[in-house]
Subunit: 325 residues, 2 copies
C-alpha cells in the first residue's frame, strides 16, 4: 500500500506539502496541488483518515452509546443515527453500555482521549456530574436534560395526551396504563402522568401498573399485564408505553379470551417495525426518530463549534392508526 512518503517522492515535493494538500492547510499553488493529486491517483493512494484526524485533533467521529442494541426501539434509533452520521461525513461508533454507568464513563473517556467529535448517550442511568467532567460535546437522547447537559427527546406529554384522548373518544370507560418502573426518571413517566391527567379530566377511570426494573431489562411484562387484567375485568382500554409492551398485551389478552380491539382497545408507543407485524397490528404514538437523529447530530456539531444550544429540545409525536385501537 502506498504511503504519504511514496506520494511525496512521486510528486517531487516534501512530505509536509502532501500533508498540507490532504488537510487543506496553508497556501499551495494549483500546479503543486495537481502534481500531488496525480501522484495520489497513479499510486492508488488513500489517505489514512485516522492519521488525518490526529493531525487536526478531530476524528470526525460520533459515538452512540445505548443500553440495548437488539430492542426494537434502539434498533430503529441506531439505524437512523447511522444514516444521519454517515451522511454528514462522520464515522459512526456504536457502544452497548448494558445500562452500566461504569461502562458509559469508560466509553466517554475513550471518546475524549481519541478526539471524537461528540457522543450521543441513551442512558438507562447516568450521573450528570460525571458527564460534566468530560471535555467533549455530550447529548442525552430520550432522557431528561439536567445540570447543563443538553437533551433531545420527543414530546412525551403530548404522546400521553394523544393516547388518552384516542381511547376516551373511542368510548373506553376503564383504562389501564402499563409503564416501566425505573430508578431514574424515564420518558415513560411523562407519558404516564399526562395520560392519567387527561383521563381524570374526562372522569374516566384509570389505573397505573409498572413493571420492575428487572422485568424492563428482561423485556418481559407478562406477569404484570396478567395481574392487571385479572384485577380489572371491566378494562376496555389500554395504553402501553412501548410497542414491545403492547405486543405482550395482545398475547396476554389472547390467552385470556379477550379480543383486541373488540373487547379492549390498545394504543402503544414508539412506532417500531414490530407494531406493523403483530396480529392485530398496533395503533401507536410515533416517535419522530429521523428528526430526533438529525437534531441530535446538529446539537453535537454546534457544541463542537463552540456555539450555544438550548438546554433541551422536544419534538412533536403523532398517532399512527392501525388495527388495535
Amino acid at each position: 500500500m502506498a504511503t504519504i512518503k511514496d506520494v511525496a517522492k512521486e510528486a517531487g515535493v516534501a512530505v509536509e506539502t502532501v500533508s498540507r494538500v490532504l488537510n487543506n492547510r496553508g497556501y499551495i499553488s494549483d500546479k503543486t496541488r495537481n502534481k500531488v493529486y496525480e501522484a495520489m491517483k497513479s499510486l492508488n493512494y488513500t489517505p489514512n483518515t485516522f492519521a488525518q484526524g490526529l493531525s487536526k485533533k478531530n476524528m470526525d467521529a460520533i459515538a452512540v452509546i445505548v443500553p440495548h442494541v437488539e430492542h426494537p426501539f434502539f434498533s430503529k434509533v441506531i439505524s437512523r443515527l447511522e444514516k444521519e452520521i454517515s451522511r454528514r461525513g462522520y464515522r459512526f461508533f456504536l457502544y452497548n453500555s448494558s445500562g452500566d454507568i461504569k461502562n458509559e464513563e469508560k466509553v466517554l473517556k475513550l471518546c475524549e482521549s481519541s478526539f471524537m467529535t461528540g457522543a450521543l448517550l441513551f442512558s438507562a442511568d447516568y450521573d450528570t456530574d460525571m458527564l460534566k467532567r468530560f471535555q467533549i460535546p455530550i447529548v442525552l437522547v430520550e432522557r431528561k436534560a439536567e445540570n447543563d447537559i443538553c437533551s433531545v427527546c420527543c414530546d412525551n406529554k403530548m404522546g400521553g395526551r394523544l393516547a388518552a384522548s384516542r381511547l376516551i373518544e373511542d368510548g373506553c370507560k376503564s383504562l389501564l396504563i402499563f409503564n416501566t418502573g425505573n430508578i431514574i426518571a424515564m420518558p415513560g413517566d411523562e407519558r404516564e402522568k399526562e395520560f392519567v391527567k387527561t383521563a381524570k379530566k374526562s372522569e374516566v377511570s384509570c389505573k397505573v401498573y409498572r413493571s420492575s426494573a428487572l422485568q424492563y431489562m428482561a423485556n418481559s411484562h407478562y406477569d404484570i399485564i396478567k395481574k392487571a387484567l385479572l384485577e380489572n375485568p371491566s378494562c376496555d382500554g389500554i395504553f402501553a408505553t412501548s410497542d414491545v409492551i403492547a405486543a405482550q398485551v395482545i398475547q396476554v389478552c389472547d390467552s385470556m379470551g379477550k379480543r383486541i380491539p373488540k373487547d379492549i382497545k390498545l394504543v402503544g408507543f414508539d412506532d417500531v417495525i414490530l407494531s406493523t407485524l403483530t396480529t392485530p397490528s398496533i395503533t401507536t404514538i410515533r416517535q419522530p426518530v429521523e428528526e430526533i437523529a438529525s437534531l441530535a447530530v446538529d446539537v453535537i456539531e454546534k457544541l463542537s463549534e463552540g456555539k450555544k444550544v438550548r438546554s433541551s429540545y422536544k419534538l412533536p409525536v403523532e398517532l399512527i392508526e392501525r388495527q388495535s385501537g
Copy 2:
C-alpha cells in the same frame, strides 16, 4: 488534557520512552516503566488509542457491514457482534451499505487504508473479485464462500430439513414455502431446496412461492402470501424462511379466517425477538447467532495473524418450540 509530552516531562524521560511503554515495545527497566505509569496517573493521562493504532499499523478495530440495521435479524446480529468484538478489545465500526456494492467497496477501502483489523460483510450482493483485491481480512457472514473469501454461516440445509420434518410429523399434507427471490444465491435458497427435498421423500405436496427483490427490500410479503393461500385453499403447513415473513403469514391467515396452528401449522427461521412477540408466537429454526459472531471474529483474528482458515464454516441450527406449529 495531558499529552504524551507532558507525561515524558513529568516522568523525566524522553517522549520515545513513553511511547515504548505504551506500546510495550523494546526493553524498559521496571524503574522507568513505573515512573511513566506514575506520571500518567498523576496527570490523569489516557493514551489516544488511534495514535497507538497508527504507530503499530493496526487499529484493533473490526468493521461490520450490513445491508439493513433495523431488520430484526440484523439487529440481533449487530447486538451479538458488538458484544463479541468489544469483549475481545477491538473497536466496533458499523456501516450500513443499504445492499449497494459500491458502498461496500468504499467502506472496505476505508477499512484497509485506516489499518483496521478486518471486516465482516453481510452482503446482499457482492463481487468476490473486488473483495480479493483488498489486503485486509474479510469474512462473509450468512453468505456463500466463493473465490477464496471465507464464509461463516448456519447449516441452512439442516434448517430446511428440520422445518419439513416437523410439519410432516405433525400430519401436514399440503405444504407451502415462502422464500425471497434474489439475484444472487442467498441462504434462504438452501433452506428451500432441502425443505422441498424432504417433503418429496415423504410424498407430501409442497409448493414454493418467492417474493421479489423489491418486496424483500421493503420487507413486505403480504401480496405473495395472500396469492399463495388463495391458490392453495387446502394448505395445512407453511415454512417461512424468516421470522419476519412468518409474522406476515400470521397476519394474512388472520385476515382470511384461517387459524394458526389449528388450520395451518407454521415454522419460521432465525429466532429473533419478534418470534416471541407475535400472537401466536412463532415456532422457528434458531440461528446460533452468538456462535456465528464468535467464530467470525475468530476467523478475522486468525487471518490477521497470517494463519490458515477453512474456506467455510457451518454451524448447526435447532428447532425452537413455540405456539405456531
